[in-house]
């Protein structure tokens, strides 16, 4: 059984995993709550090109800082969310988006997990069915086969003793 320390470690670990990463300090917050929300929403949509598994909100990279500044500037000028995302995609490609659009080049990216789930499901289903059928069949040995089995097992036993 797990000791008290073990449980403590487990709970701590779970809490750490549950908490969302704290976003890097935003340089200038917007006073307007609508703008602030749009700003944060946009930052979470955009990938930092330097440290690729972070959004530009989370990243401390210099480039992410510059891109945040650019987003703020465009928001202040009254640009729409679409226009801002387009601005980034035009320069850095679809890769800058955390949710890339569905295109021929990204079909596998979007459908891959479901395909794998389907393949896994079918495999399990076939395996389960085969096992069920196999177990039913095992009990049906003919009289000859039983005799042969007993002989083989019996002989083995005798050999083992001598």
């Amino acid at each position: 059984m797990m000791g008290r320390a073990g449980w403590f470690a487990l709970v701590t670990l779970a809490l750490v995993m549950l908490s969302s990463p704290v976003s890097a300090a935003y340089e200038t917050e917007f006073e307007d709550p609508v703008l602030r929300e749009r700003y944060q929403g946009l930052l979470d949509e955009l990938r930092c090109l330097v440290c690729q598994n972070q959004t530009i909100a989370e990243s401390n990279a210099k480039l992410a800082e510059d891109l945040r500044e650019r987003v703020r500037e465009m928001l202040r000028k009254g640009k729409g969310d679409e226009a801002i995302i387009d601005y980034m995609v035009q320069r850095y490609g679809d890769f800058v988006r955390y949710r890339p659009p569905l295109k021929t080049s990204t079909v596998l990216l979007w459908t891959g997990p479901f395909l794998l789930l389907l393949i896994g499901g079918v495999t399990v289903w076939i395996a389960v069915r085969r096992r069920a059928r196999g177990e039913r069949g095992q009990g049906h040995l003919s009289a000859d086969e039983r005799e042969q089995a007993r002989r083989l097992l019996g002989e083995d036993e005798q050999e083992g003793r001598t």
Binding site: L49, Q52, D66, L67, V89, G93, D94
Partner: protein, 178 residues
């Protein structure tokens, strides 16, 4: 006994895919600008702050645009390659000095040599953003009409210059005269 070898076949396929995955570099992001007009820019020159340099200066010839900075460690690494390429006089090399300090950059060129025909001084990094620069050094090949034909991310090597850049430059030149 097809079924017997099915797991082996699947395993083989997996190995092939993973092997391909190992050779790919996730850091290399394809530039959306390949085959498109290079973004316009106009910034002061590095050596002559009073004079501007713009995309128009690059037109009319095949050229390279090399993005560099003194704070960029691998730029030092590729500098000798650039020097050698400049000495061979095969293609005009323009520089985009990215988010740097002017005096530091000028000192760098004094010390290690200047392979550039001219340098654009992009202090704010705006040109860099417009060109989709995400990691220095980066090198673009631009044809005589101002279309970006190729981009190399990371330090240039003699191999890249010999196998990728120079053949492409030759091809682009041939297309223009022929």
């Amino acid at each position: 006994m097809v079924k017997r070898y099915l797991p082996l076949a699947i395993f083989g396929l997996l190995v092939v895919f993973l092997a391909i995955g190992l050779t790919l570099n996730a850091r290399l992001i394809p530039s959306p600008y390949i085959g498109k007009q290079a973004p316009a820019f106009e910034v002061p020159r590095l050596a002559q702050p009073e004079r501007m340099i713009s995309k128009a200066d690059l037109k009319g010839q095949v050229s390279l645009l090399n993005v560099w900075a003194t704070w960029c460690v691998s730029c030092r690494q590729e500098h000798d390659v650039l020097m050698r390429l400049a000495e061979s006089d095969q293609v005009a090399i323009y520089g985009l000095n990215y988010k740097d300090e002017r005096d530091k950059a000028l000192r760098w060129l004094d010390r290690f040599g200047n392979p550039y025909t001219a340098n654009a001084f992009d202090q704010e990094g705006q040109v860099g953003i417009d060109w989709g620069v995400y990691g220095t050094p980066e090198t673009f090949v631009i044809d005589s009409t101002g279309v970006i034909r190729y981009k190399h991310t990371g330090p240039l090597t003699y191999e890249v210059v010999a196998n990728e850049i120079l053949p492409l430059v030759q091809r682009l030149r041939g297309g223009r005269t022929g």
